[in-house]
């Protein structure tokens, strides 16, 4: 339908040449991959932040090491390192435990890898956000008889989200753009689809620009959603008038 519309408009150079479904599939792959890795990294980030703020050095030191090392090394290097080593490590583990051989597919390996890398960035974001919640809030919650879990769920978490949101937004944008790299480790994402379509139609420039525009669309949409969330979570807080 899109193609025939272009034909009637006399813009058949911009036709997708039947690569529309491939591009859509690639886009879906990119979105799926980034959302799942976001989930993994937020969970890792919360655990990491809790470990970094813990009073026991057994938890604090590994968490410190995790954030420093991961954030000091380029994500692409880590991606190649973890992605290619993950299967080897898993095979060694299954051998040692005498389990059956487990083959991990490229997609889950990609999710684990990206989640593990960006978990370090989220750890720092959440640590800063938790520290920004006034101490008195936790003390008051304790005085009301809330236990540890309740204190986190009802008092610290809703307030912490307000401080964490700008950081989460930044990390999400970086994570989304980092998923463009997974085509290097062989996943069929948007970049790979655009390259394949471009190479077979000899219109590489057009399809790459198209892929860039799709990324722009996703980043703009998420920017919009984040601004909405920021407004929602800052309900009840006042900013100084300038």
């Amino acid at each position: 339908m899109f193609d025939s519309l272009l034909q009637t408009l006399g813009l058949s150079t911009f036709s997708l040449k039947g690569f529309g479904p491939l591009l859509l599939e690639g886009t879906w792959m990119t979105v799926k991959l980034s959302l799942l890795s976001l989930l993994v990294s937020i969970v890792l980030g919360l655990i990491g932040a809790a470990a970094k703020l813990s009073s026991s050095a057994v938890l604090r030191i590994p968490a410190q090491l995790y954030t420093t090392l991961i954030r000091g090394v380029p994500d692409l290097v880590l991606m190649l390192l973890i992605f290619y080593s993950l299967q080897t490590w898993l095979s060694q583990l299954t051998d040692a435990m005498e389990w059956d051989y487990i083959e991990i597919d490229a997609f889950s390996a990609g999710v684990v890898t990206l989640g593990f890398i960006y978990g370090a960035y989220f750890t720092e974001t959440f640590r800063g956000a938790i520290l920004s919640v006034p101490r008195g809030q936790v003390e008051a919650a304790t005085a009301y008889g809330l236990n540890r879990g309740q204190r986190f769920r009802f008092v610290v978490f809703p307030q912490m989200m307000r401080f964490a949101l700008p950081g989460i937004g930044n990390n999400w944008q970086v994570l989304l753009k980092a998923t463009a790299l997974v085509s290097i480790i062989g996943l069929a994402d948007l970049v790979k689809a655009a390259q394949d379509a471009g190479k077979s139609t000899y219109q590489l420039f057009y399809f790459l620009v198209l892929a860039a525009l799709i990324y722009l669309l996703i980043t703009s949409a998420s920017n919009f959603a984040l601004r909405w969330a920021e407004r929602r979570y800052s309900a009840g807080s006042r900013e100084a008038q300038r």
Binding site: L81, T88, V191, L208
Partner: protein, 236 residues
Amino acid sequence: MIELLQEYWRPFLYSDGVHITGLAMTMWLLSASIAIGFVVSIPLSIARVSRTFWVRWPVQFYTYLFRGTPLYIQLLICYTGIYSLEAVRAQPLLDSFFRDAMNCTILAFALNTCAYTTEIFAGAIRSMNHGEVEAAKAYGLTGWKLYAYVIMPSALRRSLPFYSNEVILMLHSTTVAFTATVPDILKVARDANSATFMTFQSFGIAAIIYLCITFILVGLFRLAERRWLAFLGPAH
């Protein structure tokens, strides 16, 4: 591990005998793109905060485009996309420029980092204390003198912490250069990996080199901050 190091320490650090490779190449990529990005972003950041719509808007659009898309795609467009156009190959000058992988890589990197740096500097100019500008105006400074003597020196200093972040992110981004056949540290690591099948060791060495550069850069920026941000008080 020892054999790997014995065979590959030279390409990892500076040369494979013919070309500059590894650490030297990464540092060259980083410094070239950062330098171009810095020089271009200063006028752009001033335009970004301009009150005239037609001056501000094109810069805003440029930063929006380049910050909203992945660097990898930008590099692919520069390296393979543009050269696939007939019109570019027909022009001798453009043809010779875009045929060279190094030119395309530095062009893509410089455009990318320039967009981020422009926003950082523009933010610093915007958050400038109004009293500072008013005092400068009261002393009779106007036009470019106001910018050259008061606004830019102050804005550049205050953006140092954010700028250091950007430089480190750029160092990390230079790793995509190997996809355009530029022999940086990661390219050497990949070659070592495919020759020896020691995946963890090959990429591990690359990771350690990058980690060292990151730590050195962080240290240098901390020194710079101590020197140029001393006026911000005892917090530093």
